[in-house]
Amino acid sequence: MFITLYLIISATWVMSKALPGTPFADEKLTPSSRAVLFEKYGLDDPLYVQYVRYMLNVAQGDLGNSFYFESRPVTQIILEQAPISAFIGAQAIIFGLIPGLVLGVLAALRHNGVLDYMGTTVAVAGIAVPSFVLGPIMQYWLGFKWEVLPIAWDPFNPQWAQSVLPSMSLAVFVIAIVARYVRSEMLEVLGQDYVTLAKAKGLSWLAVVWKHVLRNSLIPLVTVLFPLIVGIITGSIVIEQIFAVPGIGDLFVRSIFVNDYATILGTTIFFSVIFILAYLLQDILYAIIDPRIRVAGGGE
């Protein structure tokens, strides 16, 4: 895992060196002041010196100083902006999980019924209608027309209400994935022998569904954890543009437009760390929940 991370950091470092233009492209800069800036950031050293220095710094949690955002340490900027994204993302998962669960369960219980078709339609629509379509539409109706919720983020006066619309835009995707997964998982469990046995024992319909079916179909829900995190990260890049949220996705996009190598690198590394941690977490959860997987994983 650390080797993967090391290689990712190296690859992004090489990539950032290949970016066109310099961060100090301002034409007002004289050659001498540009030289001073280059020296300050160590950009005039040989590439291998820059590389080794960067790697050593990263190992100590120092992602360098931003070239653009008031020369602040990148680690500091990330730590400042990431919690906002994390909050919106976590809230989106909460917003999406409950309707997704309800829809999925209802669809499975009424397999091939009206509710099933409705649930499937919502699930498919959630994948087909992307957040960058939904975001502006909700912004228009809920924010502008009906004035229920704030239209965008106000950096000077952040309030909880401002995070609702971004979270809702992301939540639709969560609903779609969760509903789809719960439905297919429940259908599988409903066909198992132990469910038939539970019914044969004379348990009430509710007890069967609650105690046997639901529990067994919800446990493997960790499988969706990874796609959810991917979707939330991808979504945050877009959603934060729409709602002007100063989060990590916004930082990434802005640093790309101003050629801020240090910040581009830092955010990419940050994304990868989250990604790899999510992978790891998923594997660990798997092993805890289903002992059979440990056996299978041991042989690999």
């Binding site: 993967t4 066109p20 498919v124 629509a125 379509v133 502006p136 539409i137 991917v230 990419t268």
Partner: protein
């Protein structure tokens, strides 16, 4: 007693009902893999509807759309800017008086063009990489899998954005960026399938007859993975359309005056407060496109590979 000596003459026999002879047969006529899959696909209502929808959308974008409207996508006329949908301009006009009906279909063509090139790259790189990795195995496989792991460690969108920054924005480079970021699932699936197939009897038989790696790959392994390849490809197309739209939406994708659906949605979202139709039409076409491709891919997965159904 008498019967024993009785002569057997043809009139003692009665011909059996022709249909009764086939009574014991329970199999239908033998049909090939593709006919079988097609029949299964036809039973899936959602897949058929989306296939029809895709055909209609393609017809609108490539044939009907450009023919129906007398305007071209770049016809500007400031006298008719921001007109709502009407008999003259079915989807209204934008800030430069360009006809949105034509622009939406042109945008869809651009989106599809990018998606298909990206999917083609996916097909070529992903299949080659996965097949080589799976077939050679050992150290080569290990090294190639590490490489995939690195790419998988970064979100696809981030890879595509980074690639976009290095390359100059253009239709071809966007396709390359999306293709470069998105081929790993294909490679992983193909590698898995090749690993599974390469020790099976027919491969061993072929190998013992002296066939080389290349022949085994092209004659045995790839034809047997065709269903998987088609399914993955069908899932790649909507996700490539999506990635392109995101890139255009944040301003790293297609550059003006060209416009993809994503770019149209982006500019529509900016003007939405006053001219909602500028967002609604491209967004609707985009959603329909995504919807039908996703549903068709689902249907194809069930039809081509019943074992994968879940």
């Amino acid at each position: 007693m008498e019967t024993r000596n009785r002569e057997i003459t043809p009139d003692l026999f009665q011909s059996l009902d022709e249909r009764a002879r086939d009574n014991e047969k329970i199999t239908g006529p033998s049909i090939g893999f593709w006919r079988d899959s097609w029949q299964r696909l036809k039973k899936n209502k959602a897949a058929v509807v989306s296939l029809a929808l895709i055909v209609i959308l393609f017809a609108l974008a490539f044939v009907v759309g450009p023919l129906l409207s007398p305007f071209s996508a770049s016809d500007q006329d400031l006298a008719r800017r921001y007109q709502g949908p009407s008999g003259g301009f079915w989807f209204g006009t934008d800030e430069f008086g360009r006809d949105m009906f034509v622009r939406v279909w042109q945008g869809m063509r651009v989106s599809l063009y990018i998606a298909f090139i990206a999917a083609g790259l996916d097909l070529f790189v992903g299949v080659t990489f996965g097949a080589v990795s799976g077939l050679l195995g050992g150290k080569v496989d290990g090294a190639m899998q590490r490489f995939v792991e690195i790419l998988n460690g970064i979100p696809v969108l981030v890879v595509a954005i980074l690639a976009m920054v290095i390359l100059d924005p253009g239709i071809l480079t966007i396709s390359i960026a999306i293709g470069a970021a998105g081929w790993t699932p294909m490679a992983r699936l193909i590698r898995g399938r090749v690993l599974q197939l390469k020790d099976q009897e027919f491969t061993l038989a072929s190998r013992s007859l002296g066939a080389g790696n290349l022949r085994i790959l092209t004659k045995h392994l790839l034809p047997n993975s065709l269903g998987l390849i088609i399914i993955t490809l069908m899932l790649t197309i909507p996700s490539a359309i999506f990635t392109e739209a995101v890139l255009s939406f944040i301003g790293l994708g297609i550059q003006v005056p060209n416009a993809s659906l994503g770019a149209l949605i982006d500019s529509g979202a900016g003007d939405m407060r006053f001219y909602p139709y500028l967002l609604v039409f491209p967004a609707a076409v985009f959603c329909l496109l995504m919807l039908s491709f996703n549903l068709l891919a689902d249907g194809l997965r069930d039809a081509l590979d019943p074992k994968m159904r879940k």
